[in-house]
């Protein structure tokens, strides 16, 4: 732990990298999984393809996916994209089922009422159906965020930044560095989780209104 205070600048730098590598994939994953979740909720065929596919993608070990990236997309070995893409894929895999289930769970009478009032499909999705899926989406985002923060460390095995570097350096020299990285990872995850939880509460006041 003392390592953090003795190396504050290095620590902040690692934190910035770690955060970037964890958050960017979550955002990309979210943007991709909303339309995919919608498609899966609408079409049996799409859900029969997308859901098992996302399960299989989730089984590919992160380390393997990270090291394969350069061969797959022609990126440089030390390019951050090698971590961002796999983590974005995991995020999609995590979110897609929840979003599609939540959209399917929107009560038929609510959708019917909206349709009968004259909502066109896109507007109905944006103002009625998706807001009702927000609680589930936030729950999925929280899991994705926390697991991503924990998984970014793996990137250090291929030389990419973040707290994972502390593990590798610590393994060779100094246990204190490993502890520093471990605690920093957990604290970062808890902060991100709390922020998402608060955002969820603010965005969905009706959830707590139920008696």
């Amino acid at each position: 732990m003392t390592w953090i205070f003795e190396n504050w600048d290095k620590f902040l730098e690692l934190t910035a990298v770690h955060l970037r590598l964890a958050v960017v994939p979550v955002l990309i994953g979210l943007v991709i999984s909303i339309p995919l979740g919608w498609v899966a909720s609408r079409s049996r065929v799409a859900s029969a393809v997308l859901l098992p596919l996302s399960n299989i993608l989730y089984t590919i070990p992160s380390l393997a996916m990270i090291v394969i990236m350069p061969a797959l997309i022609g990126s440089k070995i030390l390019d951050e994209i090698n971590v961002v893409i796999p983590l974005a894929i995991y995020t999609v895999a995590l979110l897609i089922r929840g979003i599609s289930d939540a959209l399917r769970a929107v009560p038929g009478h609510v959708v019917a009422a909206a349709t009968a009032m004259g909502f066109r499909p896109l507007r109905r999705f944006i103002t009625v159906e998706f807001p009702l899926a927000v609680p589930v989406t936030i729950a999925g985002l929280r899991v994705a965020m926390v697991s991503n923060i924990s998984m970014v460390s793996i990137g250090a095995l291929v030389g990419l930044g973040g707290y994972g570097q502390l593990f590798i350096e610590g393994y060779q020299s100094n246990q204190d560095k490993v502890w520093a990285g471990l605690i920093a990872t957990i604290v970062l995850a808890l902060i991100a989780d709390t922020l998402l939880q608060v955002a969820g509460r603010v965005l969905t006041p009706w959830v707590r209104a139920g008696r």
Partner: protein, 360 residues
């Protein structure tokens, strides 16, 4: 006015939900579609706002073929109320009601003002505006559903079993409320229910549907009871339809005098005494006793239903449900004016029959 011309709906699996329906819903009236499940009543309703499209035939709303308008535009001009209310759980009551005005392009402030007015119209005070649907009872949700449907002041209102999920007492209140609202607003309402009593109470005209999407009879409620077109209608209208026919008969029943006494006073009477409060509202019956008795609350037997001069049915029920066999008759303020007897009601019925008011 809504006009069905030879409207047929055949689903993909071949079942015929509605078969060559011809029917005219007069403007400014309530028309009730009633029938057992699977008779096509809901399908017929939902073809009006194109939640379902007909297979053949034409539906005209105010002379315009619904198929010539694109569905969202058509629906903005037609209010729709459904069984579970279909309120948006993530929006406050006020925003739920303001939905259609906002969709129709009103500015937010005007939409909300209008929504607040409507909540009052349907009998919800302003304290409900900021709540979410989950915080309301079933009956309150239904009121919000009605307010939401009325928000953009559509001339036509479609109601699909709107009150069938609430308990009987609340349902009756909602029905009375709807009749009161209709008295003020004069909308063209199509109301679907499987409850014949509800149909007879609310409908200016009632369309009885039977399995296979056939229209069995389309008539005024009294006619449906007194002159069912066929056995199906007769049996659907129920066993005590003779009794229910009385609902639609207004005739003079002689109102007789009754001994009344206020609580705390002392009476001498060898007959039944009706106890009343200071406003002459009935509070209960005192059974016949010898000699003088003080009228106290614990001696009272609670009374039956009250007759307010509305129909022969109410008069007969008041007499039959009263412990004294005397039906308490009240004025619009609820004060006692006298009593009616069952014999007199039957005599009034006989007179009405003789005059040809009741086809026998």
């Amino acid at each position: 006015m809504i006009e069905f011309r030879a409207v047929t709906k055949r689903f993909e699996d071949g079942t015929i939900a509605v078969d060559e329906l011809d029917l005219v819903v007069e403007a400014g009236t309530i028309t009730v579609f009633v029938g057992p499940s699977g008779c096509g009543k809901t399908t017929s309703l939902r073809m009006v706002n194109r939640m379902i499209d007909s297979t053949s035939g034409t539906i005209l709303v105010d002379g315009k073929d619904v198929m010539s308008v694109d569905p969202p535009t058509l629906r903005l001009g037609i209010g729709y109320v459904i069984q579970q209310a279909g309120l948006f759980p993530h929006r406050t009551v006020l925003d739920n009601v303001a939905t259609v005005p906002l969709l129709s392009g009103w500015d937010r402030k005007r939409a909300r003002t209008r929504a607040a007015e409507l909540l009052e119209t349907v009998g919800l005070d302003s304290g409900f505006a900021k709540r979410y649907p989950a915080q309301l009872s079933g009956g309150q949700q239904q009121r919000v559903g009605v307010a939401r449907a009325l928000a953009a002041d559509p001339p036509v209102l479609l109601m699909d079993e709107p009150f069938s999920a609430v308990d009987p007492i609340v349902r009756e209140g909602l029905q009375d409320e709807l009749l009161r609202l209709q008295g003020e607003l004069g909308k063209t309402i199509v109301f679907v229910t499987h409850d014949i009593d509800e149909a007879l109470k609310l409908g200016d005209r009632v369309a009885v549907f039977r399995e296979g999407g056939h229209l069995a009879q389309y008539a005024k409620p009294a006619e449906l009871l007194s002159a069912p077109a066929n056995d199906f209608v007769a049996s659907f209208a129920g066993r005590d339809r003779g009794y229910r026919t009385l609902t639609f008969l207004r005739a003079d029943v002689p109102v007789r005098e009754v001994t009344t006494a206020t609580l705390g006073s002392t009476v001498t009477s060898n007959g039944w005494v009706l106890a009343v409060d200071e406003n002459r509202r009935p509070v209960g019956w005192l059974s016949p006793v010898d000699g003088a008795t003080e009228v106290t609350a614990d001696k009272l037997i609670s009374g039956g239903s009250l007759y307010d001069g509305s129909s022969l049915r109410a008069a007969l029920d008041a007499a039959l449900s009263s412990p004294s066999a005397l039906g308490v008759t009240v004025d619009p303020d609820g004060a006692v004016v006298g009593v009616v007897q069952a014999d007199d009601v039957l005599k009034a019925l006989a007179t009405a029959r003789a005059a040809g008011e009741v086809p026998s």
